[in-house]
Point group: C3
């Protein structure tokens, strides 16, 4: 493949040849190449450019453009246009539209207003993809394909009639009989019992917005399934036509979608759209958020959970904003480079800026590209060129992998249950943010690992410590993998509320923590949300005071290997155990009876001996991120300064600066937004 091939870092951009203007095209492509951009993505919303009238296909426009690109030496990623059905299509076939829960259709004019399950839309999609792929795939300028654009962006809930029909089919396949569904969804409650699948719908408007939670969980799985099937339908067609070595991808990472499954089924690799400047949107800015744009390292870690090496299809290159919202300032000098290197540090080997020129019309007139409206050279283009020069120097890191000894276990079942269940959500979000921020502040590289069906204890072995803060839903299979990981010497850290639901999201009629009882050596006779009239519930762990946030399980140690490490210090359960360590096989399980705040998570990192593993080499202030990519035995240390102020780091062992090739040691000062890559 031309990109993500382990050979070098590549720069690209998103290009919109909207009008037939060859001299403009040539001029643009020439300027891109001069500034180090060698790949462009095109055509992701261009359905009408190819099929302006139903069944009438015209390839002239992109034929010509691709010839120009080939002539100039520009490589092209070509897109299927299914994210934006044309006006003629939605006007003639309104059944393809998505709707809100009340049944109001989302109309033409925005993006992604279609539903995945409309037979008519699937038919029209198959036609346009088949026509496009069969016509263009052999063109020498093309190096790969993007399916659709940002699947599940804009809205990841679907309420059309086609969705109800497809949902019934999904449920029939899952449950076989309506009584099995009744049992799984607990329809005894509030007399929800169904007599046939015909009585089941996607969630509809109900009083107090109370759709059965087990239904909503299955519905979310169904939405993900629908998106995956839609992507695969396109991928299967494109595969028939593409040249050897050309790739298929799609971009973005959105909710209610199992990105691993989609990638496995349909893509060669995944790409992400990274806009850290969202942190500076005027209406969303949170001055108390310590991480701000550095939060995007979390998103990049999510992408890395899908694939260790990946691409950035859209990397921020200007101010963001729609005419209707999301207004943000222009990136300051250095920020574009910082955010590009943030992507690379986490595993991106391809970075494509969104977009070359800023659009002068439509909703996205403020979603700036590299160039402003006039198209003249500017500061940001100069920054692109300097990134290109840096990429040349960093070439050897292509194909290296982000290196972490701490893992954070996740799974879609818990993620989606926490969306529909406010008790689950409260603990989940506290710990998600707490553990991530603690790892960031302490320069402890951390991976996310999704506990999928194909994950084995062997896959988990590289991690000295695994946080799985709130595995509320747990299956027998996953439990067995975790037990094996621990038995073989692993260290698993669990938080409150573990194991109280089955995979349908029903509570277990059992002692808690359910399936975790044995490995954790814990029994939970009582529990409570932290009352709003109490605050700062504290657990004492050998003299260290841990905040016991959000929820408190009152624990009892069970079995000879279970040891009470910490006890609550206040409220009516003062003196009760709140932290238990269980030796299980060769390993250990820690059960902490609350959610993990950032301070609490930092104590765990420290006490478990995994905090700041590179501090023998590098001493870095907490305002800088440390990310390490490794290939063979070489470690590439990225130090990223997110602040608009200088930062001082200490290089304790002599290292090589990849930008300059020079040796560095001792105190090094990073300029505002500066990044250093040291090996």
């Amino acid at each position: 493949m031309e990109i993500i091939n382990g050979e070098r870092l590549v720069l690209g951009t998103c290009y919109y040849p909207e009008h037939w203007d060859e001299s403009l095209w040539r001029d643009d492509l020439r300027r891109m190449l001069e500034n180090g951009i060698e790949v462009i993505r095109i055509a992701e919303f261009a359905w009408s450019k190819i099929e302006r009238y139903e069944g009438v296909f015209n390839y002239d426009f992109f034929d010509r453009f691709l010839d120009v690109a080939a002539d100039m030496g520009m490589k092209v990623i070509f897109c299927t246009p299914t994210a934006t059905p044309p006006a003629w299509l939605t006007e003639k076939y309104p059944e393809v539209l998505n709707a809100n829960m009340d049944g109001v259709l989302y109309r033409h004019g925005g993006r992604r207003h279609y539903n995945y399950n409309s037979p008519k839309y699937q038919e029209l999609t198959r036609i346009i993809v088949e026509k496009s792929a069969s016509h263009y795939a052999k063109h020498p300028a093309i190096i790969g394909w993007q399916i659709d654009n940002e699947l599940n962006c804009e809205k990841n809930e679907f309420y059309s009639e086609s969705d109800t029909i497809a949902f019934r089919k999904f449920l029939m396949e899952k449950y076989g009989s309506i009584d099995a569904l009744n049992e799984a969804w607990g329809t005894n409650f509030w007399n929800q019992t169904y007599n046939s699948f015909e009585e089941v719908y996607v969630p509809r408007t109900t009083l107090s917005n109370n759709t059965n939670p087990h239904e909503v969980l299955d519905y979310t799985r169904f939405v993900s399934d629908s998106a995956c099937r839609f992507a695969k339908m396109q991928s299967d067609i494109i595969r028939k036509y593409i040249k050897p070595g050309d790739f298929i991808t799609t971009n973005g990472l959105f909710g209610n979608l199992d990105n691993q499954r989609m990638t496995n089924e349909s893509l060669d690799f995944i790409t992400y759209d990274s806009y850290p400047n969202f942190a500076y949107c005027l209406d969303a800015y949170n001055k108390d958020n310590f991480l701000k744009d550095r939060m995007w390292s979390r998103n990049l870690s999510e992408v890395r959970a899908v694939s260790k090496n990946f691409g950035i299809m859209e990397q921020q290159s200007g101010a963001n904003g729609w005419n209707t919202g999301m207004a943000a300032p222009t990136p300051k000098p250095g920020q574009m480079t910082l955010w590009t290197m943030q992507s690379v540090a986490h595993g991106a080997d391809y970075v494509s800026y969104f977009r070359w020129r800023t659009c002068t019309y439509g909703t996205e007139i403020y979603w700036h590209g590299i160039l402003d409206y006039s198209g003249r050279d500017n500061r940001r283009l100069a920054e692109v060129k300097s990134v290109h020069e840096k990429f040349q120097k960093l070439s050897e890191i292509a194909g290296s992998k982000y290196e972490a000894k701490v893992g954070f276990l996740k799974d879609y079942d818990n993620a989606w249950d926490s969306q529909l269940d406010v008790w689950h959500e409260k603990v989940e979000w506290k710990s998600q943010l707490g553990i991530f921020e603690a790892a960031q502040r302490t320069h402890t590289p951390m991976d996310y690992i999704y506990l999928r069906d194909d994950v084995t204890a062997e896959d988990l072995k590289p991690y000295s410590v695994l946080f799985y803060p709130h595995p509320v839903l747990i299956s027998e299979e996953r439990k067995v993998v975790l037990e094996e990981y621990v038995k073989n010497g692993g260290c698993l850290v669990l938080g409150c509320r573990s194991g109280y639901k089955d995979m349908y999201g029903r509570c277990v009629m059992d002692k808690l923590p359910g399936k975790f009882a044995e490995m954790s050596g814990v029994d939970i006779p009582e529990y409570t949300l932290v009352s709003p009239d109490n605050k700062d519930i504290v657990i004492d762990w050998d003299g260290t005071k841990l905040e016991a946030a959000v929820f408190n399980d009152q624990l009892v140690a069970v079995g000879e290997h279970a040891e009470v490490l910490g006890r609550y210090e206040n409220c009516y359960y003062a003196g009760e155990p709140g932290l238990i360590k269980n030796t299980y096989g060769e390993g250990t399980v820690y059960y902490f009876g609350a959610a993990f705040s950032e301070k609490t998570a930092e104590v765990f990192l420290e006490k478990l001996g995994v905090k700041d593993p590179h501090n023998a080499k590098l001493e870095i202030p907490e305002t800088c991120e440390l990310a390490v990519r490794k290939k063979d035995d070489t470690e590439y240390c990225f130090v990223l300064n997110y602040k608009d102020a200088e930062a001082e780091i200490h290089v304790k062992e002599e290292m090589t600066d990849l930008y300059t090739g020079e040796k560095v040691s001792g105190t090094v000062v990073l300029k505002p937004f500066e990044v250093r890559v040291l090996k």
Copy 2:
């Protein structure tokens, strides 16, 4: 009757025998009985358990369950299942559904998604109630019936087509002719004149959400009428079948419903669902609300206004919460007992905990019962047992009545008008809270009395002082009752805005305070809302500064018996009278030109000599509530400590502690959440 019979206090619980598991049933019933629970409520959402397919009735499940109950010696309250129509029903007959104002139907899956006026739903309701009552009513385990569940909960507005048709009928009966309706509703305004009843609808979507206020008032009366008719339809059927001594009730106290009428027409007594832990919901917690869970004493006083003795069908026994909201902590040790005794103190002779086990599926997985998911014995079950033991000791208070010398007059016309009229609402809510909180803080027992058509001056006589803070709407009949009460020596306290509307909610084209002019000796040439650029408007009453909150009537004393007691101290009406006392017959009327804040209300209690009437016996801190039940000449004093801290009371005359049978006097320390019952 087995409960509310003046003989003893009885404990119950709500039970959900969802699966046919006789050994579980027997085990549960045995454990209940061992812990003092002798009544269970069942089947309130169980329509599909009896009629899973339309017209196919199967009684096996509850036949067997009732036999088991009878065998174990458990008494049963059986419910009609109409709160939750089955899926087959709403799928086949969508006309039974309620809708929002825009016409979007509320679909299957929640609760109470039906409308009262659908002829089809009424027909199907009659069938299921007839079938259930005729089949089960003779069963020896059954002691009474609950109609539906929480009428008007979830939503107390109805916008289906059936509602419009029924509303027209209601209006035709009320007005006779469309011109009478036009006159009553002032349809001259904004050209709203109707030519026929066919042009009238339940409130529909209008610009700026402005439905004619007189229509909304009648609509609210119509909603209440609809609910009452629906309850009576069921009650009339059940009455035909029940055993002698068995009762009919329903539960809860919700908006837009004349609970007195419903009780008189259809019930033997009313029961309430008491969840004081709502005060500790995470999203609703108000740390500045002094009363918190003690606010539920207000709700209990509302129940008592319907019936001096009543039951609690659902009493909080665990944390509350739906998966979609209302998350609250687990009740602390002692709170369950405290809230139970709060119910008893206000007149409950039957208390049934919601629920035995916590449901493991559906929306209410966090609405905890006595037992958690596992069903094992726990702290809260132990607390139930101790309540049972206390109930044994309190047996003699059954049938005694809450005793108050201060009354607070209410009526539904004003309550409902204050919902639709923000000026009315502002004064109403200020005074509702102010007077209640003043009574609570000063340990002044107070009753609510609804000024219904059957209330006479004689009924009011027991009250030394009656507050009727803002009788905006007043009828000639009610005026006469009040005049008679005062003439006979009563003391009536009125606040601002009295009497400026007629019973249609139209303002009177008359001097204010309209019908109250004569009895109050007041004329009101000017009035104003307290301007947001003024604050703390004060009236001086013999040197005491009264806050004149929200609204200011500028008064003039009329007649020889009217005396100016207080004058405004600031704003452009400084010096104008704000408080007038009128001697009227043997009694007095106080007209206060503003709303009653808590401090203001306390001054009235004090100056009118009704504050803290039991202070010769008991001296209690303001953090404790005092409630007194009386039978014959015995006064039972409940002292309830709502705080998670000790409280010190002083027993000035020797009294007997009913729990221990011991004499107590002098200083007594109440533990956190502790209750003492002294006689």
Copy 3:
């Protein structure tokens, strides 16, 4: 004409003879006349009074009323009743109703629930207007007509099917072909291309609420066009029948409506509805807003932009409030007079109080008139009488014009674009408020001037300085007018973001500030919203620190006449030019790279020598407004004290107090809310 005739100031009121009660009518009219009210407006919602059943017309009611009015000597403004279609009409023809974007119809019962484009409503409107005008126009009591009531109030967006059909017609006329529309709207973006006008709709529900911004701009123009056509349809009919000298007007000034066009096409003059007490609504009160009710001077300046002399059809005379909201206190003694004089000071020669009696039913029971519900004499009626006496003294100012040397340029294209574009909105609102407040505080009279097609450089010449803070959209024609104004010696002050869009709202693919480049001598290589992590960006202008609010253009001076006056002091563009002065012909253009805060605007007023032009005569505290009306050479200075406190002014040259006829000089103390008119 009887009013707005340059001869005298006239008082009126709005009257609602709702019931046939001649003695009440006579009594009311007599009392009005006794208190100086000589004109009444009637019948604006009275459709059913004339056509209660479709096609059945009955003129008796107003025939009789007009005879009584004539008999009493009262002059009448008669209204067309189209603001409130009758129930029979909307029931029979629901297609006349307006709808929300989701298609939900706005139903009978409020106001203005119709749409302008329904052929059926237009037909029924033509009939009722023709019938009314042909029957009543000759009546001697009538002096003029009001069309409808408050066009575009309640809601100024229309989503009915008739609107879509009319919108297509509007677009066909504007663009001729669908491809011209595609080009103008940039439908290339997000594949929005249309193949025919049949595919185009008024804005519909879209995901993320993103309708094409160029479409929304045209849609807003279409709404304005629809309202103007609707008014003209009525005006054309009425003109056929009215007596010589009788006038046609309408009332209010609402959004999405080109009031100048409507006035030019259909009216003799415009009238406004002035309710400054909105500033004291309980829910909207902003104690930090310095101007409060004085903000209504801004609205009055907008009216004056339509016509130098105008009327007030509804002037606040009591508390405002609907039963559903907008609750406000009663005007304090003096405020009614203050607000009346505020209207007069800005150009009103006719002032009509809303309303005589307060309505006792319907939504507006709290929208108080002069009299309260009882109708008896009161303080506010006495204030009307005193206003009448003052009007006698002020008679000579009738026909005089508000006098200002500072102008504020506006146009509807920019106003409407700023509604749909949050970046535009942010700068627009900052500067709108900043410049207005600066002018008010510094007693610098200021006019609004709408840069319409018929405005010439000559029209602008009287203004020494013109602010045109953010002309984002600019046409070639307007540019030429501005250039000519400057060349001839004018001074034009521009702010950031000038000229970056064309008249379709598309960004120009050109250097910024686009069409302003030449006259301003400015180039803008970079720009940014002020980042939320920076604050207080400052430009230094000869030692004066200017706040550079909201947005920062980084400027470069171009050409020999351009001079850098100010530079940014902070952020990454510290040192870059932020203020450039260009000499252009005989005049100058100032380009300021940010929005104008109040402090910044004050500096401009000062540095450009136009601040406080009357300070040689009068020295006034900033809490008082100064407004000057001029006739021939006489200047009438209105000094208005908006505070509930005394204010001290200094009369430096001897002047005459028009109320008293006395000479005044030196220190004069104004009582709370007092107004002085000095010449």
